[in-house]
């Protein structure tokens, strides 16, 4: 684990809550981005990320200093997203989350972002909850299999199985939706 993070954890545990912001600030965008991809809804994503930060602060005492803080935080976030999606059971619609784009961006940039997010959302919507988590972590966040398994709390074999299914579904979906991009190379 990072020594700086270790020190910050110690400071928070010693009763300095101000150090908590310094500890989690580097993951500010990552947390929300991952949450949006997993839930597909900005409001739910923000709530889940807030819940994850709250739990991280509450259970910081139980954090194993030999482990990666980033992975620990991501694991909490994934569990929060899972709980959130189970409670809300809202359908994935990443197209609705276009309002996440920074207000400073111009109309063209906003439109382009909306398009990208919409396309990605359409592809991810065909995956099950576990398949989406595995695909997002392994292929979009580019974590390795062991890290993904650790974050999700499952075995590497389970990750491989879900990843294989997810990639097959994504391929089918992309072929169906964007045949001109992938091209009929067979």
């Amino acid at each position: 684990m990072d020594e700086k993070e270790n020190t910050l954890v110690e400071m928070v545990l010693a009763g300095n809550p101000g150090a908590f912001e310094t500890l989690v600030k580097p993951y500010r965008r990552t947390l929300l981005g991952l949450s949006v991809r997993l839930l597909g809804n900005e409001e739910d994503a923000k709530e889940a990320a807030q819940e994850a930060l709250l739990k991280a602060y509450r259970y910081l005492k139980g954090f194993d200093r030999n482990q990666s803080f980033r992975n620990w935080l991501t694991r909490i976030l994934v569990n929060s997203c899972r709980e959130s999606s189970r409670h809300a059971r809202r359908t994935l619609s990443l197209a609705e989350s276009a309002s996440v784009i920074e207000p400073a961006a111009g109309p063209a940039a906003r439109y382009q972002q909306k398009e990208f997010r919409s396309r990605l959302g359409e592809c991810l919507a065909v995956l099950s909850e576990r398949e989406r988590a595995v695909f997002v972590l392994r292929d979009l966040e580019e974590r390795n299999i062991a890290e993904t398994a650790g974050i999700l709390g499952v075995s590497s074999i389970s990750v491989r199985v879900h990843l294989s299914r997810a990639r097959t579904k994504i391929k089918e979906e992309i072929l169906k939706r964007f045949p001109e991009i992938v091209g009929g190379s067979s």
């Binding site: 809550p17 908590f20 912001e21 989690v24 500010r28 965008r29 990552t30 929300l32 981005g33 949006v36 991809r37 900005e42 994503a45 923000k46 990320a49 807030q50 930060l53 709250l54 739990k55 991280a56 602060y57 509450r58 005492k61 989350s97 996440v100 784009i101 920074e102 382009q112 972002q113 990208f116 997010r117 396309r119 990605l120 592809c123 695909f135 392994r138 292929d139 979009l140 580019e142 299999i145 491989r160 990843l163 294989s164 299914r165 990639r167 097959t168 994504i170 391929k171 992309i174 072929l175 964007f178 991009i181 992938v182 091209g183 190379s185 067979s186």
Partner: protein
């Protein structure tokens, strides 16, 4: 390796997650199978496309006010609840309390056993003795004839001597009945327990 086996491994191979012997065997198949190569290319392109979309999609971010609120909420609400301060007693106090508790439990058990134990038959108030007018031989069951029809009913006779009624406060828990044969003088004792179930006299 067959095409079917090759395609079952293709999704993992496309992301570089196939390793070892399985990877070597799969690669051998891919060299000589054009259809699998084409399928593999599709997998690779689709994963690349998804990654491109994810990269181009600018990650969502919090506004400063939202971030500040989130952190403040986490710090305010996420604090673990303070544990109540437990009463601190010295070790000898705990040991004494434990010993006292053990004595109370043992004493209570002992006294309760004494109270609930069976009373001696001699202490019981005199029960009703039934004297049979004629002592029949061993009961022989005749089919179709009930035993009460073949033998006259016993007549209840009070014992000679004044009967002393039992004090009202005492609750009779055991009842005994004695049958006396006038001819042979044979006595049969029946003892019933609380639930009026017959208990054989072992004496």
């Amino acid at each position: 390796m067959t095409c079917r086996a090759s395609r079952s491994r293709m999704a993992l191979a496309a992301g570089g997650d196939l390793t070892g012997r399985a990877k070597r065997r799969w690669e051998k198949h891919l060299v000589r199978c054009a259809a699998c190569r084409a399928e593999f290319t599709l997998y690779q392109r689709s994963i690349e496309l998804a990654r491109d979309l994810a990269r181009q999609d600018k990650a969502a971010d919090w506004s400063e006010a939202e971030w500040r609120r989130t952190i403040n909420r986490a710090v305010a609400q996420g604090a673990p609840p303070r544990r109540r301060t437990a009463v601190r007693l010295p070790g000898w106090a705990w040991a004494g309390a434990s010993a006292l508790l053990a004595v109370l439990i043992l004493g209570g058990t002992f006294f309760l056993k004494r109270e609930r134990g069976p009373r001696a038959i001699a202490e019981l108030p005199p029960g009703i003795d039934v004297v049979l007018p004629e002592t029949p031989p061993a009961a022989v069951s005749v089919p179709g004839i009930s035993p009460s029809a073949s033998h006259p009913r016993p007549r209840a006779v009070r014992r000679s001597g004044p009967s002393v009624p039992a004090p009202r406060s005492q609750v009779q828990s055991v009842m005994a009945m004695t049958f006396v044969s006038q001819e042979t003088g044979l006595k049969i004792y029946w003892v019933f327990n609380d639930s009026f179930a017959y208990e054989e006299d072992k004496k």
